[in-house]
Amino acid sequence: MNVPRRPIWTGILTIGLVNVPVKLYPMIYDRGISFRFLHKSDGQPLKYQKVCTKDQKIIPWPEVAKGYEILKNEYVIFDKEELEAIKPESDKRIRLDKFVDYFSVDPIHFNRSYVLMPDKITDAYSLLLTVFEKKGKAGVGRITLRTKEYPALVHAYKGAIILTTLRYSYDVIDPKGFEDLKKLKEPEKAELDLAFKIVTDLSGEFDITEYEDNYKQRVEELIKKKMKGETVTVEKPVEEEAKGLMAALRDTLKQLEKK
């Protein structure tokens, strides 16, 4: 298994008076397929440019400022320096405020996870990890990554300490606001029994490796073929044309069932 070679952040995990020096490694990757836009006729890569909405002129970076819309088409304008000055400094600390049951934090709030590794001194790290594992607890605190401060959860996962940044409460919608929920009726017992039975019948172990991105696999196959110089004939999605066939199929399946 490949692990990232360089930490993206080093600092100190602080619990009251206890300090644990740690290194922070990225853990989550998006390994989906990504493409680059090219010019169809000559294959040259294309880039984005800022264009003035009034005269369509391309505006160079030094002339770009940030604006905050206070009314329709009315902005307060900021210089880069003004915003820089109030950005939080990363003080190289993860401050834990308290310990909670790990499972009491709903994953809805999870944002992005990082692996924490001991930085030179391993004893304190090992001690903390063991406590997390044995007690099923997690630490809640704050971390500033680059220039943004996040609430964070520090917990054990597969024999390592993980830091997961959390979403602020105002970034998550409370579903109670939906009217539809207020009209829900209690299910009847017979239905409930059937539903329970189905759930029992279909119960299994969670295994994320059972799921694959089929689109990604198909794109990768296409890429392989193209690299070998094979011409790839683009087949239009058959959906539309196959619709007539589906009607005939349904008829025939019905007839065959009768036999």
């Binding site: 007539g244 066939l245 005939a248 199929l249 008829d251 025939t252 399946l253 065959l256 036999k259």
Partner: protein, 298 residues
């Protein structure tokens, strides 16, 4: 209160009606009629309930035209490369080819659709089933007119043949070949050898030839202009006939169509039975053919 619970395979079924992934549906297969592969597949889907009984457990011989019938097609006995694992096949040692041939058994709708998607136009079947290759369950009189004799002459001879078979107490069935001829078939119990069926069909053919100027019964005379040949030779191990409800690779996209004898008496035109008309046809005159297996007196 009703609860809609989507459960198990039904959910998958409604989404996916067939295992076959359709390809090149817009390809023109019959250029004169501008008929596409999609229409070929639809045809076979529609006739499947009538047709599958004739294909089941028989070693299918396919005639495929991937580039349309105006380009050269090819006969295929071996299951092609990339045959999906759910397609049933059977390996048979071929003494002439000195190797095993892996035949397709078209036992279900999905296989038939898959064959159609491979631009299979004609499906030919042997007269015996895969599990008892030496014991035929059908006997064929191939009534084949040689120009200037026409399909009308073939009908005349087929009706004479039927009268003769009626006299000796054998019930026979008739279909168009899709070309000029007619196929007269007797379903038989699997007790006879090909040698016996061949001899029997030949004997009846000779009798007809003696009685009727128009009829010839020997291979040497088969190509005599204006005659109708009652061909017995197909009744052999490894020989085939075009399956009932198979399309033919002719410009008119005709279908080898089971007929009622009354239709033959009234007079039919083989080209009236084609990819467009046969799907609308309610009649299924061969429906009970395998419930009527007869014994030969030899």
């Amino acid at each position: 209160m009703t609860t809609a619970i989507v459960y198990g395979d039904n959910a998958k079924m409604s989404k996916k009606l067939t295992k076959v992934e359709f390809t090149n549906l817009k390809k023109i297969i019959f250029p004169d009629l501008k008929t596409t592969k999609s229409q070929i597949i639809e045809f076979y889907i529609t006739v499947a309930p009538k047709m599958l009984a004739f294909l089941s457990d028989r070693l299918a011989v396919l005639k495929r035209f991937p580039d349309g019938i105006d380009e050269e097609g090819f006969y295929e006995k071996d299951a092609p490369q990339g045959t999906p694992s759910w397609v049933k096949t059977k390996k048979i040692r071929s003494e002439t080819a000195k190797r095993d041939v892996n035949y397709v058994l078209c036992n279900d709708l999905d296989t038939l659709i898959w064959l159609a998607n491979l631009a299979t136009i004609e499906i030919h079947i042997p007269f015996s089933k895969a599990d008892s290759l030496e014991k035929p369950d059908m006997m064929l009189f191939d009534v084949d007119p040689e120009p200037p004799a026409t399909y009308k002459d073939a009908a005349t001879v087929a009706l004479l043949l039927k009268r003769k078979l009626d006299e000796i107490g054998l019930e026979c069935y008739v279909k168009t070949s899709g070309k000029k001829g007619l196929h007269v078939v007797i379903p038989i119990v699997q007790e006879h050898s090909f040698k016996e069926t061949r001899k029997f069909v030949h004997k009846i053919g000779r009798q007809l030839a003696e009685e009727k100027e128009l009829v010839v019964s020997e291979l040497a005379e088969a190509k005599k202009p204006g005659k109708v040949f009652v061909d017995y030779l197909q009744n052999s191990h490894g020989r085939t006939m075009v399956s009932p409800y198979s399309l033919r690779a002719v410009p008119e996209a005709t279908v080898s169509t089971p007929l009622e004898w009354a239709e033959v008496e009234k007079g039919i035109k083989p080209t009236d039975f084609n990819i467009f008309s046969v799907v609308k046809r309610d009649k299924d005159p061969w429906k009970k053919i395998f419930e009527n297996k007869q014994r030969l007196m030899v």
